[in-house]
């Protein structure tokens, strides 16, 4: 009787250790899984951001009157002064700062909503607006 009781306690201890181990592993898995989803979304946002930056610079480089449309999957904030595009938690840089949403370039940050956007070279600056 006495020996049976000891084996039971040891079994409980072993199971306890295994459960604690699995809880630890699950916590790490859960953390990495969330990280992976965040990285995946950031990469997707960055792809959109880099694509938009590339379009802006191409439209500028190709000269007066060049026009291009593009579908944006996210809302973006363009900071002409900082030559930067912010998109959710992601961002990318622009090699030019001559960007505005309407009228002359002022350097003031502006937002562009998701959907179709028109990018146009007007007076050697780039104008970007929702269609």
């Amino acid at each position: 009787m006495k020996q049976k009781g000891q084996a039971g306690i040891e079994a409980l201890f072993a199971i306890g250790v295994i459960v604690i181990l699995f809880i630890g592993i699950y916590a790490v898995y859960n953390d990495k899984s969330r990280n992976l989803l965040a990285v995946e979304q950031e990469l997707r946002q960055r792809e959109v951001c880099v694509g938009l930056a590339n379009d802006i610079v191409s439209v500028f480089t190709l000269g007066e009157g060049t026009e291009k449309t593009r579908r944006l999957e996210y809302n973006v904030t363009i900071q002409p002064q900082q030559q930067r595009i912010n998109l959710g938690k992601s961002f990318c840089t622009l090699t030019i700062g001559l960007v505005s949403s309407e009228g002359p370039v002022t350097g003031t940050p502006f937002n562009i909503g998701e959907g179709i956007v028109k990018i146009k070279n007007v007076n050697q600056s780039v104008r970007i607006q929702n269609e």
């Binding site: 084996a7 040891e10 790490v28 960055r46 480089t61 090699t95």
Partner: protein
């Protein structure tokens, strides 16, 4: 007949097998975490390399395909908004080229928003001779560099434009 004492049953649950498999599993798990960390750091490096590449291509194209802003910026280089060297498609303007080579290094970095990186601009003749050079060449502290090469006509001679963007170790 000798019977073994019943106390030998006590240690059976904590067998070597259980401990070995537990240890093996923990080592495998640590290995997986290490792989994750290595992949994360490679992703970060790849991101920086892509940025470097994209910026180098954009700047080279802008220099060659645009006259710059204002169009006569070479008259007053201190007030340049965006430097460009184009005279006509495929041809460079000599005055703009002279003005660009003489531009302040930090001013060019600021204009193109490449303060995190270093750059070097070179114009090489058809026979390989160096005709113009500006900026800083990659040195021992360089961790990554991208060079973009374009052929242009300048003063009726074919010349090679080489724009190198590189990053220093932090």
């Amino acid at each position: 007949m000798n019977e073994r004492p019943p106390q030998s049953k006590r240690g059976q649950l904590f067998s070597l097998d259980l401990m070995a498999s537990g240890l093996g599993f923990i080592i495998f798990f640590i290995f997986l975490i290490s792989v994750w960390l290595v992949l994360s750091s490679r992703l970060e490096e790849k991101r920086e390399a892509e940025e470097l590449q994209l910026q180098a291509f954009q700047i080279t194209n802008m220099l060659i395909m645009s006259p710059g802003v204002p169009a006569d910026w070479e008259g007053n280089p201190a007030e340049v908004t965006i430097p460009g060297l184009q005279q006509s498609p495929g041809r460079l303007n000599q005055s703009k080229l002279d003005a660009f080579v003489a531009l302040d290094y930090n001013q060019v970095q600021k204009t193109f928003n490449i303060g995190r990186f270093e750059y070097q601009f070179k114009v090489i003749g058809i026979n390989g001779s160096l005709l113009y050079s500006a900026g800083i060449p990659p040195d021992n502290s360089s961790t990554r560099s991208i060079s973009v090469n374009r052929w242009v006509l300048q003063e009726n001679e074919t010349q090679q434009i080489l724009f190198t963007l590189w990053s220093r170790s932090k």
